[in-house]
Amino acid sequence: MKRDTLISATNVSVHYPISGGKLLGPKPVVRAVENVTLNITKGSFFGLVGESGSGKTTLGRAMLKAAPITSGVVNFNDGEVNYSLSNMSSKELKDYRTRAQLIFQDPYAALSPRMTVRDIIAEPLEIMRLTSSREETDKRVREIAAKCRLNLEHLRRFPHAFSGGQRQRISIARALVSEPKFVVADESVAALDVSIQADVLNLLKEIQQEMGLTFLFISHDLSVVAHICDHVAVMYFGRLVETAPTRELFNNPCHPYTKALLSAIPSLDPDAKNLAQKLEGEIPSPTNPPPGCKFQTRCPHAVDICRRDEPQLESVGDEHNVACHRWQELM
């Protein structure tokens, strides 16, 4: 593990068993995440991009020990502690929870309508017993609320008093009040209006620098990821297909899926013709995917080897990896 990696996943797979299948045969599973390896450097804003069914949310949760890790190793090392998530004692798990937190997507569902904002933000402190008195809790709540640009008198109110953007800031405050080192933001701006999105994104960036946090930013929106992340990993159907520093990925995409994703984003210029491919075909069935590369059903460049062997991550250049048999010819 590199010296300044905060959290790393090595060959991580998350499989969910589903009902059905033969009585004595192998139980069918959904391979939500399959054999993913990535490293997140301390202090980075790491983007995880994919569409529905890509497994990005599951991977994020697995790295928080909120989803079961079927195989592989997730390692967390922030200088003070060194945990391997697959075998942690319950004491270690309790400690890990103070160091890694999650910001949810839906600002309307993530806050209990029956608690005041102050109680919502204070809850993690109370559960994890990080403060010893009510005054201390109040102080920390006020501090983080100010950092998230929440008005102090809002603390007395209930969530129904707030707009989507404000609620998301409350959500962020709750995730950050325990001063974690690692934060997973799961589609945290997807439900917000565009004019508010930028505000919340800027807030995240500011806080990251102020508090020295490491973010895993999960999103389906490549344009947002392009502006805020310094490193991006693209997932498709549970597999990692490409990972690179942001500039590099956008200037030099190697995987056909990445290229298609980039070209599919509608541009503001009405005259820009979408040069690259329109993807035809369907996503394979989650329980019974074809052998080989899972993108073959939609890839315009699929050949025999793609239908036989699953491609492994190969290095393209500096920290740029791609999992495609033909990336070199297609460049």
Binding site: L64, A66, L93, K94, R97, Q101, L102, F104, D106, Y108, A109, A110, L111, S112, P113, R114, M115, T116, I120, E123, P124, I127, M128, R156, R157, F158, H160, A161, F162, S163, G164, R174, S178
Partner: protein, 382 residues
Amino acid sequence: MSNITDTSPAADQKLKEAYFTASQGQLIWQRFKRNKSALAGAWVLIILILSGIFSPFLTPYDASIAGRDKDYLNGAPQVPSFCDDNGCSLRPFIYTYERTRSFKTNFRWVSEEKTGLEDRRYVTFFSKGMEYTFLGIKFDRHLYGVDKGQIHIFGTDSTGKDIFSRTLTAVNTSMAVGTIGVLIAFFLALVIGGVSGYYGGKIDSVLQMVTDTVRTIPNIPLFMALAAFVPDTWSSEERFFFISLVLGLIGWTTLARRIRTHLLSERNQEYVLAAQLCGASPSHVIRRHLLPSFTSYIIVDLVISFPYMILSETALSFIGLGLKDPVNSLGVMLQNVTSADVLLNYQWYFIPVIFFIVLVLAFVFVGDGLRDAADPYADTNK
């Protein structure tokens, strides 16, 4: 163009702040108050319950055999009037009856009304009457009475008991039975439904099977069986508690199912997950999130359970398996109505039925109003 409301900015701001800092409970109460039928139902309910509680004061006579009027059996309702052929009076009055039996009446005892001026009996208020104990203290004042003899505004039954007095005590008894039954059912439902909904999985499946089994047992034969086990030597009070217990033991299934459903959906809320991601213990989750979330729904469910309890008890007592004299409930009062005599001649026996229809309807209106007010979808801010 939009209308600008005419409140000063400061008052407006105060209203808004009140809305922002209002808890769920307060919001629900506000919404409930706006529902006119529910509010009317609530008032009716309060009045009926209070009349039941204060029935010894409100009614002139004891509802049991001790208070009967030997001279006025199966008597028609005596409605006080202010005026008659002999002139008007400020005080309402009723007439004297004389019981006669003669060849003319086929030797049946018949009460004849005497309408002379001297036969008037004036209604008195806050009059002294039979003694009763209320909250351990002996009183003897009643709301109304009559200067000579007795007054029966709803008439009397075959033994001379005043139907009005019996009606109010019946309301009280039925409410008491209902309350105990609901409490027992609620406790059982909370435990079983709660464990089922919180843990899910196999525990849930097993408990659901148990619940469904109990639910499919036909109620009347079960009651009959249980009631048959009640020894005759038990006092009516013991019988009363037993019947309430039985009702609770049978009635928990619907409530348990509801609690389980609430918990299953609440358990998957994102804010619960957020708490669990901090390592929240089950008791924290239950205390802080799950219990408050379904308090409003459970209150609705409880209110709606009441009418069912009351009606079940009525049915039981009516067929003779429930309460018996001297404990008095609607079912007990209706035990004697199935003879042709009553149906043809003594229709006032059915007056209590109206009271009960009103009581059940009031519960239903209030329950519906509460459920509408607690509707979570009414408050999304999108």
